[in-house]
């Protein structure tokens, strides 16, 4: 395989995950109890044999830095390298990285150092399983300038909003990009994953900066739809775009089904994450648990139905957790009832006994809240 550089992009401006986003970028957000969102895409890279990866973070790098430095992602510890490139806040309190292209330009020297023949740019707010070596093979054979990964999706009127919809011709070439404003019920959704030669990548970055300082990679790619050969490569199987709190909630609920879980994570396609050295979970006598996935280190005395429970969560007797996503290190006291809730890390729920959201609008409990 020619040398490939993996670039994990930061989330575009349309991503707003209510509550959770105030504390960390979507990439570092806990999902399925024991992972971070970023683990899925980074494992895609390393499982596909990509050894050099640059992770771009817009701001607040702490949680991502901590997580990535303690996870090996099964890379050879000498040959493999994951480098974090993060933006900062300047004196006038403006974010330096507003758009991805600015970030790529700023750190181009670190991309040059790797001397890659190809770059694969993948998003940090998507979860799917994709062998990137197959994608690269296709790209090379098809003689495309750029190949974009896409999914034929239903529910585009409710999901993937503000992402790109693709018009694809019979030769699997993309003829136009449209912003998804929810007008159509189904369509070909861009998974914001691009393969191209390093040369093309650098050209696009240059052109984008010359056009406008607000131009993103997806903007410039869509501008080039006529001038360049942009191919489409179909992804099949589970895919989630985590752009809202509701989408985050739904992604947890979808993947927690046994079939989906084992399809997404298995011995042939492991998802690597940081170990916490938590012991197994203790289900005490009187606990009732069903239809849920549970991380290690929990102590459960109450009832858990159809939920996702993170590491080291304590659920006391009489508590009922239903249709909820509980992030790690949370304490849920006796007789507390949770329905359609997303409870952020380190929070303690004691006094308020009844918290109820809806499937469309899950209630969000802030990180570290004591209520």
């Amino acid at each position: 395989m020619s040398k490939v550089l993996g670039i994990l992009n930061f989330e575009p401006s349309y991503v707003h995950v209510r509550g959770l986003e105030e504390f960390r970028p979507i990439s570092a957000t806990s999902i399925l109890g024991r992972y971070r969102v970023i683990d899925f895409m980074l494992s895609n890279f390393t499982n596909s044999g990509v050894e050099a990866i640059k992770v771009f973070i817009k701001n607040r790098p702490r949680s991502t830095v901590e997580h990535i430095t303690h996870t090996s992602y099964n890379l050879n510890s000498k040959r493999g390298k994951i480098q974090l490139l993060h933006g900062d806040v300047d004196y006038s309190n403006n974010e330096i990285f507003n758009v991805d292209v600015q970030a790529f330009k700023t750190y181009m020297q670190f991309i040059d150092v790797e001397n890659p023949s190809y770059v694969i740019i993948a998003p940090s707010h998507f979860i799917f399983k994709q062998d990137f070596s197959e994608l690269l093979d296709y790209h090379c054979k098809s003689k495309n300038d750029i190949t974009v990964l896409y999914q034929n999706a239903k529910n585009t009127d409710k999901e993937y909003l503000m992402g790109d919809l693709l018009s694809i011709d019979d030769n699997k070439r993309i003829t136009a990009f449209h912003k998804n404003r929810g007008k159509y019920k189904s369509g070909n959704v861009s998974l914001e994953t691009y393969v191209m030669s390093t040369l093309t990548f650098k050209q696009l970055v240059e052109e984008a900066t010359m056009t406008s300082s607000l131009y993103s990679l997806s903007d410039i790619v869509s501008d080039c739809a006529r001038a360049m050969k942009i191919g489409a490569y179909q992804h099949r199987g589970f895919c989630a775009c985590i752009s809202t709190l509701n989408a985050y909630y739904e992604a947890n609920m979808q993947i927690k089904k046994e079939k989906e879980l084992l399809n997404l994570i298995n011995d042939d396609w492991p998802i690597y994450t940081m170990t916490n050295d938590s012991c197994p979970t203790l289900y005490k006598s009187g606990a009732k648990v069903s239809g849920s996935i549970i991380a290690n280190g929990c102590q459960i005395e109450g009832t858990v139905i159809n939920s996702v429970i993170g590491r080291n969560v304590i659920i006391k007797e009489g508590a009922v957790v239903k249709d909820s996503v509980i992030l790690p290190d949370t304490f849920i006291d006796k007789n507390v009832k949770l329905d359609y809730a997303v409870v952020d890390r380190l929070s303690i729920i004691t006094h308020i006994k009844d918290l109820k959201g809806t499937r469309e609008e899950p209630i969000y409990i802030k990180r570290g809240d004591r209520i």
């Binding site: 024991r34 197994p280 203790l282 606990a287 009732k288 069903s290 239809g291 996935i293 290690n296």
Partner: protein
């Protein structure tokens, strides 16, 4: 100030024949325990948490898995510069040729060059097959304060069980005056935990003498300790309070697993200050199906439960299928319990597939049933 350099030596070469099929291809310290651990994780994690940086693991019986597992020092955070886990298997030597380890003392004797090279001031001798959490740093402090040549960790056991252990008889200052291996009529209830600290210089001298003695069994309990007592060297007992268990039999291994379900067993694996580290499995979270029923269980990641689990410990990658019932049992790694199968008071070995509908074990059985591939093969033959 130079730190007192204590090197730990874990005796992990025994066969563990009372675990039968569990140790057929795997040394006892590498047998799985408590959902996600291997037995030796306890000794290694105790070392790491006690700020010991150099650990020798003495292997002999079926050592491929144990050696490769132990060698990954970073699992327990023992990968600091100058430290690490050293796998010490018997080797061919210039003077003596190829020699196996003949006894616990001989195993250490054959590695005196390693201890010399590590510049040990003290040597901590441990067993690789005990489940407990212990701060060896505190024990070293007591050893130095007592100005002892050797300190032996002891635990109080019920008097009627004392005849199963090595018993230390002490004076009022806890100085050991007599050691009796499995005495018929025990004079005290202080059992040796198989945890010793020796001041290295003296130990080195006694090991060399012991090696020359052709009548010796080259065993710490039978030969070394008695020699120290005979020569009136200061041997101190160090009283340990807390959970400690030798998991040398199927019943005791099962019991130790069951202790994890009790909140008052004294073995707290949830304590963030004294974690037990182990190989990180890249498994899914545990998946509890919509028809599952769980009543008192210790379950780890990678397990899939769709049936009924009561008073049991479920290990990584194990699957309990719909309508299966698992009660008072230990289900080890990657076991599949088929639909409608019923297990009671069983310990199911790694990778065993229990066919649909099979019923194994009895509610009031005196012994725990070890379910291995060999047992299932036999059951299959008798059916035909």
């Amino acid at each position: 100030m130079k730190k007192n350099n204590m090197v730990a030596m874990i005796l992990a070469g025994g066969r563990g024949s009372r675990l039968f099929d569990l140790t057929k291809k795997v040394a006892k310290p590498a047998v799985h325990f408590g959902g996600k651990y291997r037995i030796i994780d306890f000794a290694l994690s105790n070392c790491a948490n006690s700020h010991i940086s150099t650990v020798g693991v003495l292997v002999q019986y079926e050592s491929i898995l144990l050696s490769s597992y132990s060698a990954r020092s970073s699992t327990w955070g023992l990968d600091s510069n100058g430290g690490g886990v050293y796998v010490l298997s018997p080797r061919e030597k210039d003077e003596t040729g190829l020699g196996l380890y003949n006894g616990t003392a001989d195993a250490i004797y054959q590695n005196l060059d390693f201890l010399d090279q590590e510049d040990a001031d003290y040597v901590l001798i441990l067993s690789g097959d005990h489940i407990y959490k212990m701060d060896y740093e505190k024990m070293l402090k007591a050893h130095i304060e007592a100005n002892a040549e050797a300190t032996i960790a002891v635990i109080e056991v019920p008097k009627k069980e004392a005849s199963r252990f090595g018993i230390m008889n002490t004076d009022k200052n806890d100085r050991i005056i007599e050691f009796e291996e499995k005495p018929k009529e025990p004079k005290s209830n202080l059992a040796s935990m198989g945890v010793y600290i020796f001041s290295y210089k003296t130990l080195r001298k006694y090991l060399k003498e012991d090696a020359k003695n052709t009548d010796s069994a080259h065993d710490f309990g039978k030969n070394l300790i008695p020699a120290y007592i005979r020569d009136n060297l200061k041997l101190q007992a160090y009283r340990f309070k807390g959970y400690w268990k030798d998991v040398g039999t199927i019943d005791s291994l099962w019991e130790a697993n069951m202790d994890l379900l009790k909140s008052n067993s004294g073995l707290d694996l949830f304590d963030p200050e004294w974690k037990i580290y182990t190989d990180d499995a890249s498994a899914t979270p545990q998946c509890i199906g919509s028809k599952a029923k769980i009543d008192s269980a210790f379950i780890t990641q990678g397990a899939i439960v769709n049936g009924e689990v009561k008073q049991s410990v479920i290990f990584s990658g194990a699957e309990i299928q719909e309508t299966a019932k698992v009660t008072d049992s230990v289900i080890m790694n990657n076991v599949v319990v088929g639909k409608g199968a019923k297990l009671t008071r069983c310990l199911v070995a790694d990778d065993v597939k229990i066919p649909d509908g099979m019923v194994l074990g009895k509610k009031n059985s005196s012994d725990i049933l070890l379910v291995s591939k060999a047992l299932l093969a036999k059951a299959g033959e008798s059916h035909e």
